[in-house]
């Protein structure tokens, strides 16, 4: 069901510049939607229209099936349900301390002081900034400011969260944390709308994409539909996502096969055709048709991926003792991904899990878990893109542990299970620790 829609929306700035023209969108509830377009394509203006800051010259905005009115009561109601996070957090944070800024929204909603305090605590805890509550904003880093801005919106408990360029000016790890947080919010049924010009982000993250160019929506659809159309991308002034570009190139060379375009690195890896035929140096007495046991393949044949190749068939004997061999491979040790809820963290139990389960790599999601890991000297092999990296490690036989907390536990489980279902590759996934089940 569409929660937010527009109908022939148009806006012209007082100086005559057309910023939005004939825009029709249907944003579904509980989905992740991305507006993608180059700078100046009208994304920011559209967002200001969507939360009622600007009034359209023509067309209308429909929220929950009802056209938007512009009297102050309806606007208040709208802004309570649609939170917006600006591109530059300095434009948004105006109170002298972090705590007071986050409290601003809830106070305006008329919460009692206990309720305000509770929602502020919750929001700050959620973005992992509870320890900075008394700091003035000018003592925070860019990433921290961004999280304060998001906390200020979360504290109002909106149904829809709109973020204008959420990753601008963030370092890769900081950007990853924000995206994990958005994934978690979405997991709790919040509708998330972002604008970006980062095609890789929009391609891998969103459920639905609108391409914008010259104040109009010029294309829409699921990410693989939109980004597989080179003509559309050229019109929008954008390039293809890297994952998709690599996929198309290897597909053209006959090295990949798949019925759908991969959206992230694990899916890209799945699309690769394993080499069935390889060159092997064989003993002189080997004949065509013989079965060879190659044992566990390491090194030159398979870097970092122990495969057992038993009963490979020799197809052709070449000069100098070389032969072409057809392989039937199977993984010798199934990798797994375990998820540990840091909400019930206990150092002794954690160490026991590390040794009992022979964990090869640990990854942390969320600021809180990272903090605990740092405090207790838990070495993190993976600190960004945790879910994707863990899947890749598990595919090559490693045993991974993801430490995380709160809603990210469910979010991570769901993403990995989705992968298992889509790819048909059985990776063992599960929760461990005191909070099991």
């Amino acid at each position: 069901m569409a929660i937010l829609a527009t109908c022939d929306l148009g806006y012209r700035y007082p100086d005559g510049t057309v910023a939005v023209k004939g825009v029709e969108i249907d944003v579904e509830a509980g989905k992740k939607t991305a507006f993608v377009g180059k700078n100046g394509s009208g994304k920011s203006t559209l967002f200001l229209l969507l939360n009622g800051t600007l009034k359209p010259n023509n067309g209308e905005i429909i929220f929950h099936g009802r056209p938007l009115e512009y009297d102050s009561r309806s606007l208040r109601e709208l802004r309570r349900k649609i939170g917006i996070v600006f591109q530059n957090p300095d434009d948004q944070i105006f109170a002298p301390t972090v705590q007071q800024d986050v409290a601003f929204g809830p106070t305006n909603l008329g919460f009692s002081s206990e309720e305000v305090e509770r929602s502020v605590n919750h929001a700050l805890e959620y973005v992992g900034l509870a320890h900075l509550r008394d700091k003035p904003p000018h003592h925070l880093s860019g990433g921290e400011k961004k999280r304060v801005a998001i906390a200020g919106v979360i504290a109002m408990e909106p149904e829809v969260i709109i973020l204008d360029e959420p990753l601008s000016n963030l370092d890769p790890v900081g950007a990853d944390e924000i995206m994990d947080m958005l994934g978690e919010l979405n997991h709790f049924n919040k509708t998330i709308i972002i604008s970006t010009h980062d095609v890789d982000l929009a391609y891998g993250w969103s459920d639905y994409v609108y391409l914008m160019s010259d104040s109009r929506v010029i294309g829409e659809g699921t990410p693989d539909q939109v980004f597989s159309d080179p003509e559309l991308l050229r019109k929008a002034g954008l390039r293809q996502p890297t994952t998709l570009e690599i996929y198309h190139e290897i597909e053209r060379r006959g090295l990949a096969a798949g019925d759908r375009a991969p959206i992230n690195v694990p899916e890209l890896v799945d699309a690769l055709k394993p080499p069935d035929l390889i060159w092997v140096r064989v003993p002189p007495e080997t004949r065509k048709g013989d079965a060879l046991n190659l044992g566990v393949m390491y090194g030159d044949y398979a870097h970092n991926c122990p495969y057992e190749a038993v009963n490979a068939t020799v197809l052709h004997i070449h000069a100098d003792g070389q032969a072409i061999v057809e392989m039937r491979r199977k993984g010798i040790r199934a990798g797994c991904i375990m998820i540990y809820d840091m909400g019930g963290y206990e150092p002794g139990e954690f160490q026991k899990i590390m040794t009992d389960y022979e964990i090869d790599a640990v990854g942390a999601m969320g600021k809180k878990s990272k903090k605990i890991a740092e405090r207790d000297g838990i070495y993190l092999d993976v600190a960004s893109g945790v879910i994707d990296k863990s899947i890749l490690l598990a595919l090559s036989g490693k045993r991974c542990l993801i430490i995380t907390n709160g809603g990210m536990v469910g979010h991570a489980l769901k993403r990995i299970r989705d992968y298992v279902e889509k790819s048909g590759i059985a990776i063992n996934v599960g929760m461990i620790g005191a909070r099991e089940g």
């Binding site: 800051t53 434009d91 105006f94 109170a95 002298p96 705590q99 601003f104 106070t107 502020v120 003035p136």
Partner: protein, 253 residues
Amino acid sequence: MRNLLDDYALISPLRYRNIWLKLSVVAFGLIIGVSSVSPVTPLFIALSMGFATVFFGKTPPKFYLALLLAPLGFAIAGSIVILFFFGSGSEVFSFEVFGYRLTANAGGLEMAVLVISRTLGGMSCMFFLALSTPMIELFSVLKRSRIPDSVIELSMLIYRYIFLFLDVAICIKYAQTVRLGYTGLRRSLYSIAMLASTLFIRSYEQGEKLYIAMNSRCYDGKLTLLDTKRPIRVSEAVLTSVYAIITIALFVR
């Protein structure tokens, strides 16, 4: 890039102590210090406040001394004048400069010492407050003292934007400097004028953005002031009382 008193106050452990206690300690010190006729009381106050600021407040001693040096410089300059031109009584010492005879007498000397000690006492009280209480803690005091809400809210916004514009100004200045905007007086004047006008336009734009930001979070004319309760601990009360008793004893002596 910047080195503000407020920044030191923000990291001071004394920040989290009861603000009314701090204010009364400072007010007490100021009143007693200024009305004292003997230099001993203000000096004792200066010593105690300085100790509290450096030891409890963890202000770097070097920074603290440098801070004290400025008012002390003025006080000493003033005291020299007092020493030679005021007071009466027996002559302490005298010397001749360009044919003038400068004489310092006992009364003048006493007064000069008193002026210096009062300056030290007063300044150390003010620095204690400035280095232990950041502006953001003072807003709740303003609120309690029944200053109109709009004035307080305005000052909260101004406080936030001072730092924003300070950063903008530093960036613009830097951008101008790297393109040789400050070589020579003429160019410097031109550059600083440009900086000022840009800053003005920026602040105007920022005002518009502020309005949008507040509106999109349902602004209805209220900014919150979360009053955090910080009860006075027994140890603090005891320490303050001991300090007050000694000071009063010195005062009435």
